[in-house]
């Protein structure tokens, strides 16, 4: 067991996602307590004190984001739960939506109370069908018991929730871009400043938080910031939901206490690698993350993994990040050139086309890697990939262009010999293998 639990602290049964089951494990008590005994600013202070960091990719302190909004400034404010989970390798918010939707809803009510929000949204990716059905049923249950709508629990606080289904665009996971989608237009990311807490949805102050970040709020209000701080490490309090996939025996979503040994997690909790192969590399937090630092290697090699712990600071010092918690395990014998080809095709496909370096750069890198995989690579192609990656870095409004570049740079830096081999011989050093055989 990878440590203590916050979101997976119950046994999943056929009806454990229902309102009744959630209440039976203490659900909605924090809401009652907050509405009756706490001022909105005290709720925000509790989140600040908890040290909760965002779980969507950037690990920005959630409380500090909330402090960007003055609940009493007389303007409308909006809260959006980002459930546009599309980062390859990431499927942990789906777990919350399917198995603990009321933790999200109670938390959104608490956040709305803290931030003076009358209308809140969940932006859920368009392809998620069962997660949407579960969430939608939970919302109707909550409305049915007066937990949303006018004068909630007789407190005078009113809040409505709209579940907004996307229509197939990875870029909507970028918080400012989903605003455009909700406003009925193309989902183009927006320049900051102004921050979204100054000018967001409908030009009003807006907080966008990841599903897992928000869902943790109710636990913190129920148990207190100190109890949350007692879990995890000093600089990374709490837990993370890690979704594990790839060449691993027991893929799935695990709740991991931050600071847990990575080797133990992989080899014991996840059952080790498929086919008893040695580990080649791990993509730790989705094939990209929203972190906008220049040296952000997205791939960790086997030796690096063995001595790491799972927390934000250790991964950052290793030159990567826990990102979205989407961990992809890669066994020895896998062709990294073809893996990069998939990643670059993905970024090219998903680039929204707004910024020239990303629109042109992702396409350019995609054409170069396709050429290499077709056996027609040229000796200068590795330099070309590096060159385009460098000019994508920091020159675009959102992180998609940067991420495409980081993916290429990390793969080339760590596995350069494989790329050279492919170009020189016109074929893969590992027979083009993607599967573990």
């Amino acid at each position: 067991m990878p440590g203590r639990k916050v979101l997976m602290d119950f046994e999943v049964t056929p009806d454990s996602h229902s309102l009744a089951a959630y209440r039976a494990r203490g659900g909605y008590q924090a809401l009652e307590k907050a509405l009756r005994t706490m001022q909105p600013r005290e709720v925000t202070q509790e989140i600040v004190d908890s040290g909760l960091q965002g779980r969507g990719g950037a690990a920005f302190p959630a409380g500090r984001k909330w402090q960007g909004i003055d609940p009493d400034d007389g303007q409308p404010h909006y809260l959006i739960a980002n459930a546009d989970e599309g980062e390859p390798g990431t499927f942990k918010d789906r777990w919350v939506l399917e198995y603990n939707p009321h933790a999200l809803l109670e938390s959104m009510l608490l956040a709305s109370y803290a931030l003076g929000v009358r209308h809140a949204f969940v932006y859920i990716r368009g392809e998620y069908d069962i997660p949407w059905r579960r969430l939608d049923a939970a919302v109707e249950e909550a409305y049915g018991e007066g937990l949303f709508g006018e004068d909630i629990l007789g407190s005078g606080f009113s809040c409505d929730l709209f579940v907004f289904r996307g229509a197939g665009a990875y870029v909507c996971g970028e918080a400012s871009s989903l605003l455009g989608s909700i406003e009925g237009s193309r989902a183009y990311p927006r320049n900051r400043p102004p921050r979204m807490t100054v000018r967001g949805l409908y030009q009003a102050p807006t907080v966008v938080n990841n599903v897992e970040t928000l869902a943790t709020i109710a636990w913190i209000l129920r148990n207190g910031a100190a109890a949350f701080r007692a879990i995890g490490t000093e600089r990374s309090p709490g837990t993370r939901l890690i979704s594990v996939s790839g060449h691993i025996r027991n893929p799935g979503v695990y709740e991991v206490e931050l600071g847990y040994s990575w080797a133990k997690f992989l080899h014991e909790d996840c059952g080790g690698l498929l086919c008893n192969k040695p580990l080649k590399a791990v993509i730790p937090g989705g094939i990209s993350s929203q972190v906008l630092t220049g040296k952000d290697a997205k791939v960790l090699t086997a030796e690096e993994v063995e001595c790491l712990t799972l927390d934000h600071e250790k991964l950052r010092s290793a030159g990567s990040s826990l990102g979205s918690g989407g961990m992809i395990v890669i066994a020895e014998g896998t062709c990294m050139v073809r893996l990069l080809q998939i990643m670059l095709r993905f970024y090219h496909h998903e680039s929204c086309g707004q910024c020239t370096p990303c629109r042109e750069g992702t396409g350019w890198m995609h054409r170069v890697i396709d050429r290499i995989v077709a056996g027609e690579g040229r000796p200068e192609d590795i330099d070309t990939l590096h060159h385009v990656a460098r000019y994508n870095d920091g020159t675009t409004i959102c992180g998609l262009g940067d991420a495409a570049g980081y993916a290429a740079t990390a793969m080339l830096d760590n596995f350069r010999d494989e790329f050279e081999y492919f170009i020189e011989h016109g074929r893969s050093k590992f027979g083009g293998n993607l599967e573990c055989r």
């Binding site: 599309g86 009925g184 193309r186 992809i328 993905f346 599967e435 573990c436």
Partner: protein, 154 residues
């Protein structure tokens, strides 16, 4: 789309007043669910109902991957070919499908029974490979599962 307006009016109740354009994507999704695609007459109807310019609707339609302007086959088979699925057999699944159906991704069988597509990450990486059939995910899909599944889709 006019018969769907009562449903749209119901959705409005949970939105802040004065932001009807927010219903654009939800309306387009609902129209597509109803008709199978979005027709010119639907766009005309939404221009009138939501009060948004036609060009804005066209822009949205050409941006989001799930929205379409033309009908497709009865069963839309979408194979995820991103990293995790490829590492767990998505390429073999896609080869199997193109072989059986005699069509490539992006094409529809002549009897209009199947349309085949490839799609990027569906968030089903831990249960890879995944095939999305219309709205439903079919996960951990083996060749034997595929046999049984295709049989059921008439």
């Amino acid at each position: 789309m006019k018969h769907l307006i009562p449903e749209f009016e119901h959705l409005k109740k949970r939105l802040p007043p004065g932001h009807d354009a927010t219903l654009l994507v939800p309306c387009l999704r609902r129209v597509q669910e109803d008709r199978g695609f979005i027709a010119d007459s639907d766009i005309d109807g939404l221009v009138e109902y939501l009060g948004v310019p036609r060009i804005q609707i066209e822009e949205v339609l050409s941006f989001y991957g799930m929205l379409r302007r033309a009908p497709i086959g009865r069963w839309h088979l979408q194979v995820c070919h991103n990293v995790s699925c490829s590492m767990r057999g998505a390429e073999r699944l896609l080869d199997d499908l193109t072989g059986r159906l005699g069509i490539q991704p992006g094409e529809t069988t002549p009897d209009r029974r199947f349309t085949l597509s490839t799609v990027e990450c569906l968030g089903s990486c831990g249960t890879a490979p995944v095939l999305m059939v219309n709205e439903a995910y079919h996960e951990n899909l083996s060749a034997a599962d595929l046999d049984a599944l295709l049989e059921r889709l008439d």
